[in-house]
Amino acid sequence: MTPAFEPEALSWYEGSARQRIAALVDPGSFREAVGPEERATSPHLALFDLPEQFDDGMIVGQAAFKGTPILVAAQEGRFMGGAVGEVHGAKLVGLLRAAKSLALDVLVLFDTGGVRLQEANAGETAIAEIMRAVVEARLSGSRVVGLIGGRSGCYGGGGLIAGCCSALLVTEQGRIGVTGPEVIETNRGVEEFDARDRALVWRTMGGKHRYLIGGADRYVDDGPEAFRAAVRDVLAAPGRLDLATLDAEQARLERRLARFGAARDATDIWSALGVAEAPAVPGLSTQAFRAVALGRESAHDAR
């Protein structure tokens, strides 16, 4: 007898930032900039007696994707939950500026809970600089693609940056949001949001829901091969950002608010989208889910 189920070799959810990059781009093609050997560590963490990491939880560099040069950034969720600090943020800003001057597309592998509390001012500034750099890169014609499927999700400032991307790819385990579950519970009470109810967290912020309401453009399996295929797809589409796209995005968000603003739970939204058995959605396999998701809200017209 053989096991009924065999997990894949590398789980995106479990992998490290470096494992993800290595498995995503053409084999052996990644060249890191400001690597660990340069020891660009946080200038703040030592003040709090906290451990530093030589890459400050952000890995940036150039690689080839299907033979074409591309820039890649990956957050290391295992270091401080992928939280954004001064150096961490500056490395991404630099990469995005390079994208503009080199006219290359960028892949951002998100895995972050938001800004690092220990260097909050520097971190918040970094988020603003990153958002500006994303927009400038896009205005110059580069595409900035966000890949979301790590343990820490894509929260706080990470969620804001994701909102500026050309396209977002998300797995079932991936989560996208600004305010995280625990913060909502702390501020608004457990009646408003029970952060320990993981099924609630995932059906409110998880990949399936974000894909259904148009908060992500591709829904992918938890492995590098699935991400590779989806990246190839979205890079085939032209990148553009102008007033017309922003108007369309505004209209889309207004429409979404009008349609679903009164919903109490994600399952209400799914029912309104025409999903016959909304409560069954979390348990659906990828294939079955794609079938019920045909009537989903359109993804960003702005992207």
């Binding site: 007898m1 053989t2 096991p3 009924a4 189920f5 997990p7 070799a9 590398l10 789980s11 959810y13 479990e14 079932e172 385990q173 320990r196 109810d197 993981r198 099924a199 609630l200 967290v201 995932w202 998880g206 399936k208 979390p282 348990g283």
Partner: protein
Amino acid sequence: MRDWATQKAARAARIAAGASFARGKVVQAADLAPFLEAVLRPGDRVCLEGDNQKQADLLADALAEVDPGVIHDLHMVQSGIVLPSHLDVFEKGIARRLDYSYSGPQAARIARMLYGGQIALGAVHTYLELFARYFIDLTPQVALIAAVSADRDGNLYTGPNTEDTPTVVEATSFKDGLVVAQVGEIVDRVPRVDIPGDRVHFVVEAGRPFHVEPLFTRDPGSITETQILTAMLAIKGLYAPYGIRRLNHGIGFNTAAIELLLPTYGEKLGLRGQVCTHWALNPHPTLIPAIEAGWVEQIHCFGSEVGMDDYIAARPDIYFTGADGSLRSNRAFCQTAGLYACDLFIGSTLQVDLSGHSSTVTTNRIAGFGGAPNMGSDPRGRRHPSEPWLKAGAEADPDTPAPLRRGRKLVVQIGETFGDGNVPLFVERLDALALAEKLDLPLAPVMVYGDDVTHIVTEEGIANLLLCRDPDEREQAIRGVAGYTEIGRRRDAGMVARLRERGVIRRPEDLGIDPLDADRSLLAARSIKDLALASGGLYRPPSRFRNW
């Protein structure tokens, strides 16, 4: 002349007093508090059913609502202090004395109340000890129990979580005590009769299932590579050489890692069918991949596990099931099975001292024992031989002639040298001793005594205490696997090296294990979702464990 049936008369009086609140045997939930005031007497010994899993929660809440002016000084004799209401009865003066076994979720509050003198503590027991005392000197006068459903005659269906109920009812009902059951619903015909109706005097419909805690679910996503390494050591260094077929696993991520390595690492070692075939074990979701891969012949369970019911019902060759198809668990029988019919117990703990004593007590928390000290002890009354039992006995006592030599059950403590929050596993002095001094207890709450422990497994290796010939060797064997803890760093390096030459200490490399191979890709399931998929969708994990 002496009246030889005073207890029968007392029970008849209780039934008569309760009958005014009942239609037949059925009492309305709204009348529970006055009903309990009518059937209870001050000073009664009361068993309120509840252990680490199922809870008679409706009855617990009702008992906390009775008037302490009417009902007071109760002596609670119950497996678990788990719900807040279990301690509310002491705070309100309804109960005074306590004999119990497990208090995990209330560990901090019970410690405060014991220090404050609000509870007169008899003793903290193992489950099996407390059950034993139900039949000798702690027989309940009233038992408040929980079942899934009842018919109007009081026949009870306890469903997959039968657990303590038959034992409690046996002791109470056959010694002229009163049995009151809360049930989820009253039906015309119960799916199977777990408790015959003539042992049950009143039934109350809760309108909802009794509370069950998913205590035995471990998310494979949280298993670390160090835990995987300790699991590899246990499988290759203990299960294989001793040929462990009959065993019990304690709760924890180390043992969950072992379960998830059987179909991968264990398969590579060719151990399927050679080890881990017969179990005394709750329905651990992490054992699903091994069951599906054909490793397991059968499992007897203390209780059930939330979400596992459909999977169990679909695997009757593996589990004990009733005429209705669902699991039949029984804590007393399974504890007995774990004590007498298993050759190995393996579990993790919080503190181990230099004699090998271990404890889960910290000074501000009293979690009780549950079943672990019973599982984790060598039964002196055992007489049937088995290969692992004889081999361990020979290692411990090579000089006695074989026909007169006792065998030994393997009792293994497994853990990382630094546990949760980087707290060292190894200590000079157990916190349990400080607690005993503070509460003036005659016994420190030791979970597993050093003389019962046969092996300690950490990421640094396996210490075989059976091969130690004196207390010095024993101490150095423990220090020798204690890593970079204070205890480990103060080892006698020369002596540890000699112990390693004798095989008393075995490092990963001595067993042909490369620590770099301890990778999460070795786990047969890496998430709760993988477990659900491995079960073919039959395992339905509770909401709190789902990340989808």
